[in-house]
Amino acid sequence: MEYKGDNYYIDQVIAGKAIAYSYIIDRHKDKAFNLAFRICGNREDAEEVAQDSFLKAYRSIREFRMKSSFSTWLFRIVYNTAVSQIRSRKDRTNSLSDYPSESFEFSGINEFDEDADREHKKYIVNQALIKLTSEERAIISLYYYDDMSIDEIAEVTGSGKSNIKVRLFRARQKMLEIIEKFEKENSVRYETNTRI
């Protein structure tokens, strides 16, 4: 069935047809989940955050002004929910690091897999993301995975545009450094393997 646009389904939900919300969920679930996953670092927490966010959005759907796009509004909810979840967890565990590297899920490298290269890239990205703060991870995720502009990211995170530019630049630098380090290590390992 052809998707009739967010505003159409929002009007239906406000009119009392809760079922219309399923179309909105279907449309946005992957991107919302991806953002939650990039911030939280594991699928379980990401699912919880995504569910909470869709529920919050449903409860306050009447407050959605339609000035910005629904996805930007939803992402703001996902971002706030995920960041506050990480903060509360940090308070509970009294952890110094923003996110412990061990808990970040990633797919292992399978050399016999057809998508080995893709999986390898995924692995490197996840290793690099661990080194960033939750806010930086969110900015990177919104910029690269959701193809958002600086203005849109500023709207989602509630920060100023110049602040986003600076943080994006720093996060990008950090990630590139880590990726380069990984690639160097891998090429050394590859060379030693071929010599043997």
Binding site: A18, K29, N34, Q51, Y58, K121, V125, D147
Partner: protein, 137 residues
């Protein structure tokens, strides 16, 4: 959507692109809809109705304050000389002459100044507390 030149020559695009996103688990929509069906819809509409009353309540309070300000303005008659405004002028002059012994012999209009300032500070205090507790929840 970001401008095309921004995404050019960026090495990270090789590693992260919209096609590489983590997808939601299977059955996510159904699970969500089950939760949403359990949501009490009436509560939301009542809350929304209450919220829509806010501007009217605010307007009512403002009109009330304006009336009080006219009524407590002192001995001068601010209301034009019509039959029905004569009573208002009378009330105004009576109220301005009231002296309350427990308020250091201040007249009612003088007290109103302090009351207004107190209300203003209480309002700020209330907003601060409300914001704090709202964030907590």
């Amino acid at each position: 959507m970001k401008p095309i030149q921004e995404s050019d020559s960026d090495r990270l695009n090789l590693f992260m692109s919209p096609a590489e996103i983590e997808t939601a688990p299977e059955g996510f929509t159904d699970k969500m809809m089950n939760q949403i069906r359990m949501e009490p819809v009436s509560v939301h509409s009542t809350a929304a109705n209450k919220r829509s009353l806010v501007p009217f309540i605010s307007a009512g309070i403002t009109v009330m304050f304006v009336l009080i300000a006219f009524l407590l303005n002192g001995t001068e008659s601010y209301f034009p000389d019509f039959k029905w405004t004569g009573k208002l002028n009378k009330i105004s002059s009576i109220l301005s002459e009231i002296n309350l012994p427990w308020t250091f012999s201040m007249s009612l209009p003088e007290i109103m100044g302090y009351v207004t300032i107190s209300i203003f500070f209480l309002l700020i205090f209330d907003r601060t507390l409300s914001r704090y507790f709202h964030q907590e929840t």
